[in-house]
Each structure stands twice: as C-alpha cells, then as structure tokens.
C-alpha cells in the first residue's frame, strides 16, 4: 500500500512480452463464448426486449402511455437522454483529453471507454426521437432541401442538439475506428480462420505498420484529439442549452454548461469504472487495467463530484442572491417540496458518498469502489430527473401544479436502454480487442528506443 506518487507508475503491472499482450487481449476473440457469457447476454437481451415492447406499445398508442402530462411535459425521456449523453462523455475525455495531457495510463482503458461512448450515445439518441411522439418524422430535423421550402430553425437549441449529438457520435466513431485500424492489422496477421482474416483485412484497410504511415497516423490522432476535446465540452454544453435557453425558473441559469460538463465526466467515469471492474476480472486483464488505473479514475470522480456539489450549492446561492422569488421558490421546493426525496438521493449519491474517495484504501478497494460508482450512477440519473421534473411540476399558476409518476412504460424504456447498452458492451468484448493492443505495446517497458539512439 505504500505507493510513491512522486514517480510515474508503470502502466502495465507485470512485465509481459509484446506477444503475450497480443495473446491476452485477443483471447476473448479467438475462444468460443462460454456459458457465463450467454447467461449475461440473456439477461441483457431480456432487458432489451422489455424496452422493445415498451417502445412498440408507445409507437402504437402515443406518448399518453407515459406518465408525463402537463405541466411535466419532459420527464423520463429527457432524463434518460441527458443521462446517457453524460455517460458518453468519459470515453472521449479519456481518449482525447488525457491523450493531449500525455497521460500514458489512458491506453489501458481508452478503447473500452470509447466503445462505451458510442454505445451510450446510441442509447441517448433513442430518447429525443421517441419523445416527439411521431418518430417517423425525425428526418425533418435535418436541414435538407424539401418540397415545403422550409429549413430547420438554426437558432433553436433543440436543433443545436441534433447537430451536437450527431457530430459527437460521428467523430467518436471515426476516432474509435482510427484507433482500431492497427489492431485490425494485428488480428489479421494472427488469426488462423479464413473468414476472420477476410473481415479483419477489410477493416484494417491494408495496414502495414509502416513508419511512414505511423508518422501521419500519430499526427492524425493528435489532431483528432485536439478536435474531440472542445467537442466533448461543447456537446454537454449544448445539451444544457436545451434547458438554460428556456425561461423556466430552475432551468434558466448560466451555470448549466460547466455544471453539466462536470456532471457528464463524473457519471461517465463512474460508468467506465463500473464496467471495467467486471471486464478486467472476466477477461483476466488485471495486469493491463490495473488498480492504479481505477484509482486515477476514482480521483477524477472525486474532483468532478465535488465540482457538481459546488454547482448544487451555487444554484441555491444564486436563487437567494438574485432576489427572484420564482427562482427561490423553485429551489426551496426542490429541496423540501414533493420531490425532496429525489433531491436528497441526488445530493447524497453525488456529493457526500464520493467524498469517501479521499481515503486511499477506499480508492484502491474494488468492492468499495464498485458500490460507490454504482451509487454515483444512480445519483447522476436522479440529478437529471430533479432538474427536468422538479423545475416543471410547479407551474406559475398553482392551479396547474402537478406531480409526475412514471408509468410502467417509462420504466420499461429506461430498463430497455440499459439492456441495449450492456448488450452492445457484451458483443463488443467478444468481437473487438477491448484494449488498444498497439498502444499498450508502445508503453510497455523497453518498448521505446533508449536515449543513446541504439548505439550499444
């Protein structure tokens, strides 16, 4: 337990050879899925089926099957959307921001986090489409020359959202694929199966590990990281504009963009830690995804959790300091009104419990951190619920006050989104290398030339 933090910790714990790294990471792809995998898959597919049934029922009957109604016109749909987009922020942050900051430890977890980003954005994308009630008209969100002679309203935050989320998805996917190209090359040269070789060849595009290619590749990776960094900040900023640009008390706040971004990183890291705890165990990757990695992520969770806590406090301060009676009412109502239970779940899970990460022992104990990160995920879901629902349920006129209670279709859709996410994660672990093989090799001990330029 005595770790010298003044030295950079080795990225890979045990010294393993480069060929071993390949073998270890490619192992799940070469082996037939075992019984445990199918049990896990059947659970996630059941969840997915629940979601599919709920959504089908929704399409047949309209949004009336949900619990939302005036004045709470946005409830689980938007809560889930913001929640999943937030989860999707960790991947790009790890792969882009930590890359620019030269954090070598990112290599072990970047691929997985990027994959989770893509899956989370896919889950998120469902909700805005289905909550319109007429999902078959979603094409109108795109500005294309149509026979109505109309364009979308480019000054609307909801249209910004469409651009932000679709750009984020595209860029994350491209970034992920670029990272995968050398690994496809490795897999192509390793595999014995002819079919797999054809598939890997197609996706590797003919990658040759040539240094003349590596040179441009590294440049491209840096440029992509440079673009993905402001992009990741812009996406949740724009998501927060969906609320902040409106004039509802409790939404109309300038603190929303940084507050949302911090919350997104917070929840995203929590989700990555949750999944990685299982992945490193199941696929025997403890040497590559080490406790040091998890500890570093826990530190980021602690920092962003405290930032979120600061934002909670600052919202109350501004409600008092602005002297706006509506703003004050909304915040007092938030903490002590009908949705106080949700508010206090949020505060305890997001602000109080992560403070346990101040203790090194807890940061490095897997069961403890698993409990904490799951609670963080719960808390962050409730944060979006509190923002969306508790700001709406007390309208300006007391005669239009209401109370939102989710219907089983609300819950079914939420469960279904988790089913989709974990199904995709499971399929990913069996089809693609969950750790970037070429990147991990580059940070292994003795992988880089010594400083005397090879003169022995």
């Amino acid at each position: 337990m005595n770790i010298d933090y003044s030295q950079e910790l080795p990225v890979i714990e045990r010294s393993i050879t480069l060929a071993d790294i390949d073998r270890l990471i490619a192992k799940p792809l070469d082996e037939k899925p075992d019984k445990k995998f199918f049990i896990a898959l059947s659970i996630t597919l059941t969840l997915l089926l629940i979601g599919a049934v709920s959504v089908t029922y929704l399409f047949l009957n309209g949004t009336g099957v949900w619990g939302l109604n005036q004045p709470v016109g946005w409830a689980f749909d938007i809560t889930n959307f913001v929640f999943w987009v937030g989860i999707g922020h960790a991947g790009t942050l790890i792969s882009a921001v930590l890359y620019l900051l030269r954090q070598k430890w990112r290599t072990g977890i970047a691929r997985f986090a990027e994959a989770m980003t893509i899956f989370a954005v896919m889950c998120a994308g469902i909700f805005p489409v289905i909550h319109t009630g007429r999902p078959w008209l979603a094409g109108y969100l795109m500005p294309y020359p149509n026979q109505h002679g109309l364009w979308v309203n480019f000054t609307s935050p909801l249209v910004w959202d469409v651009f932000a989320v679709s750009t984020y998805f595209t860029v994350s996917l491209v970034f992920w694929y670029v990272g995968l190209i050398p690994d496809f090359g490795i897999l192509r040269d390793k595999t014995a199966s002819k079919l797999k070789k054809t598939i890997y060849s197609i996706f590797s595009l003919g990658w040759r590990n040539s240094h003349r290619n590596w040179q441009h590749y590294e440049k491209a990776y840096m440029l992509l990281a440079g673009f993905a960094t402001p992009l990741v900040l812009s996406v949740h900023t724009i998501v927060s504009f969906d609320f902040a640009v409106s004039i509802i008390p409790g939404w109309h706040t300038t603190i929303f963009p940084p507050y949302f971004v911090a919350g997104a990183i917070f929840s995203g890291f929590a989700m990555v830690v949750t999944v990685l705890i299982f992945v490193r165990k199941v696929f025997d990757l403890q040497e590559i995804i080490t406790v040091n990695h998890l500890e570093k992520m826990n530190k980021i969770i602690l920092v962003t959790g405290s930032m979120v806590g600061y934002a909670y406090g600052m919202e109350f301060f501004i409600a008092w300091y602005s002297g706006n009676p509506f703003e004050q009412f909304v915040f007092i109502n938030r903490a002590f009104g009908p949705y106080a239970w949700a508010y206090w779940i949020m505060v305890s899970c997001n602000v109080i419990i992560p403070q346990l990460f101040w203790f090194k022992k807890i940061r490095r104990t897997i069961p403890a951190m698993l409990v904490i990160v799951i609670l963080v995920n719960v808390g962050m879901w409730f944060e979006r619920f509190v923002i969306t629902v508790s700001s709406l349920h007390r309208d300006f006129l007391p005669s239009s006050w209401g109370y939102f209670v989710p219907s089983i279709f609300d819950l079914g859709t939420l469960i279904g989104s988790f089913g989709l996410f974990f199904t995709l994660v499971l399929i990913f672990t069996k089809t693609l290398p969950v750790v970037a093989m070429s990147e991990i090799k580059a940070v292994a001990e003795g992988a880089q030339p010594s400083h005397n330029g090879g003169k022995h």
Partner: protein
C-alpha cells in the same frame, strides 16, 4: 527462387534499438525507397529516417475553415434570404445563435477530412494486395519484431549488397519479398453473370414490392389514413356535408374592392382605366393575359383557342365591336363573364384586370396600326412613369 518480380529485401530485429541503428545506417547509405515496420510508432524514428513533418494539418485546417464558412453562409442564406423569419425577436443573421452549429460543422468537416485525407491520400488505402501482406515478415512486425525493408526499385538496390548490409547489422531474419502472382478474373464467368442477374432481379423486385405494395400496408399507410377530411370529399361531421367551411356571410377578402355593376347586363357608366400604362403595368398585363385569357382568346387575341374544341372558341378581340368598347366594358366582361365565358373576378385582382385591359388595347393597336404608330406607341410607353 521465386518466378515473380522481387519487391524488396527485409530484415527483422529483436529490439527497437537495433532497428533505430539499422534505419540510421540505411539512411546514411543513401537508400530512398525503404521503410521500417514496427508494431507501434517508435519515438525518434522520424528524425532517424529524416522524414519531413506530416502536412496532414493543412488538410485539417482548410477543411475546418471550409466547414465553418459553409455552415455560417448556409445558415445566413437559409434564415435571411431563402426563408426569412424572425424568431424570438432576433435579427435574421443571429450570429450568437449560429455559433453552436458552426462549431459542430467545423469539427465534423475537419475530422472527416483528416481521416479520409490520411487514409486515401497519404496511405493510398485500402490496399490489401500489397506484396508485404501475408508474409512472415508482416506477421512478425505486427506482433513483436522490428523490421526494415529496402525495396528493389531503389536506384542503389543490389541484392548481394543489401543482404550483406543486413548481415552486418546482425539482423535476426533476412527474407526476400516478391510481388504476388497477378490474379486474373474473367468477368464473363457464368457464375458471376448469374450473380449479376440475380442481384438485378432482387433489387428491382425489392424496389417494385416496396414502392407498389409495401407502402400501402399498415403501418406505412398511417399517414394516408388519418382522421381528416380530404379536399373535395364529403364530410360526415358537418350536417351540410361540406368538408370545407365557408366564411361568414358578408366576409370580404383583404384588398377586395367591390364592383358596383356586378351582375348587371352592362355597366351603367363604364369605368375608366385608373392605371397608367407603364412598362411594369404592361408586363403584368401580358403575364396575366397569357395565363388566364390566352387559352381561349389566343396569344394575340385572335380567338384561336388552344383548347382544341373542348370549349367553344370566343370571337376575336380585334373585331370592330370590341375595339369600339370603352375600357369599362371590357372590365365588366372580365368581372361578370359573358355568354359561356365565366367570371374571372376571383382569378384577377382589380389592378390586374386593368393591366390586362391595357395589354388587350396594345394588342388591338398592334394588329390594326401602321408602323409609324407602333414606333410612337413604344416611345410613349417607355417614357411613362408610375404616378
């Protein structure tokens, strides 16, 4: 020995240091067409190989800026020119509100251009038929070995010399790589042709079924079968059976100017034309005449209908009778109709009717005038200005 053309000679090393040393040596000897292959990018290799810095950033920059300009100009055009609309009291060109989308499009263009530029322009990918593929050399360098390959098309390439050089550098394995035998495929192979025919049949069949059958099935016909009244169809909701509601009695359209002799056989006192025949008025009159009058009266007013007997031909507008009419008489006919001619009151506004009358007068004059009068008339019209 292999019968195919030699691509190059390769050498494998166990450590990155040995490869850096080898690459430095090869570069020093003046070889140009050589490349090193490593499982991951080796730091410092750019300097050893004396590679120029990658110019990929210029692609990124130019496409990023194009993306920004495109987004901004497009939104400007859509929101200010093509369909100007005031939203939230903001100006048509609401720059702050355009920032998010401009940023997103910039990032999208720059990212896609960087990746596509790198893969297609710099790497010339996809290239799965490169001679190095499927060689033991490639399998080694993609795993844990460090390789160098000197290509046979280098001017300094000499098999024995290169072989000796690699031996001196203590290469672990030295192997030659040949171009693969060229594969030739006959496109008239019956199997391939059958496949093409099948694809064609499948595509056209699927298209036919989709466009002619599928879209009329539930749920794709939901938009067609809605609870609504289609134009001209009977309403089951209103007692009078009309789907369309008529305005309240006495409702007057905007800009409607009543005509006092409507319904009479002839105007009591024919009105005089209030418009001055300017170029604009004549052009408007011509346009409306050609749209509404010419189908029956003919393009020049000769009564030569284009309707091929589906509607009785009217008499010529150049008859003594019509030429002798006052403008107000023609106006009366346009508003009221005459014999089988229906009223055009709902098609033409008051000013348009008078403009059409000016045009008819011009036609009459042109058909029945001497050349000097035409020149005079043209002069007069072009010197007129709107009051």
């Amino acid at each position: 020995m292999n019968a195919n053309k030699l691509f190059g000679l390769t050498a494998l090393f166990n450590t990155p240091d040995e490869l850096v040393h080898a690459a430095a040596k090869v570069n020093e000897l003046g070889y140009k067409n050589y490349d090193v292959h490593t499982p991951y990018p080796l730091h410092g290799m750019d300097a050893v190989m004396k590679l120029k810095p990658s110019k990929l950033g210029y692609i990124t920059l130019s496409f990023g800026l194009s993306g920004a300009a495109f987004a901004l100009l497009f939104m400007y055009w859509a929101m200010s020119i093509d369909y100007p609309m005031i939203i939230g009291g903001k100006p048509y060109f609401a720059l702050p509100a355009f920032v998010p989308i401009t940023f997103e499009v910039t990032v999208l263009f720059a990212t896609l251009a960087t990746v596509i530029g790198m893969l297609a322009f710099y790497f010339k990918f996809p290239s799965n038929s490169h001679p190095l593929h499927d060689t033991p050399y490639m399998k080694a360098v993609s795993s844990d070995k460090y390789g160098i390959c000197i290509e046979a098309d280098d001017v300094l390439f000499d098999f024995e010399k290169v072989n000796l050089l690699f031996k001196e550098l203590h290469a672990q394995t030295i192997s030659e790589v040949y171009f693969p035998a060229v594969e030739r495929t006959n496109i008239f192979e019956p199997k391939f042709l059958t496949l093409l025919v099948l694809i064609a049949l499948l595509t056209s069949g699927a298209t036919y079924v989709t466009l002619n059958k599928l879209i009329y099935l539930t749920p794709f016909d939901w938009m067609m079968n809605q609870n609504r009244v289609n134009a001209q169809s009977k309403s089951l909701f209103y007692t009078d059976g009309f789907g369309m509601r008529k305005p309240v009695e006495g409702t007057v359209a905007r800009n409607y100017i009543p005509y006092e002799y409507k319904g009479l056989a002839a105007p009591v006192v024919p009105l005089s034309n209030p418009l001055t025949p300017t170029n604009e008025v004549m052009n408007l009159g011509k346009k409306r005449y050609l749209t509404f009058c010419s189908p029956c009266h003919g393009n020049l007013g000769d009564g030569d209908s284009r309707l091929r007997g589906q509607f009785p031909n009217p008499p010529s507008l150049h008859s003594e009778k019509v030429r002798g009419w006052l403008d107000g008489n023609i106006y009366h006919v346009i508003v009221n109709g005459q014999n089988v001619m229906p009223s055009y009151a709902s098609q033409l506004s008051r000013d348009e009717r008078w403009a059409v009358i000016h045009y008819i007068r011009a036609l009459q004059k042109a058909k029945n005038a001497s050349p000097s009068e035409i020149i005079e008339a043209k002069k007069e019209i072009s010197s007129n200005v709107a009051p």
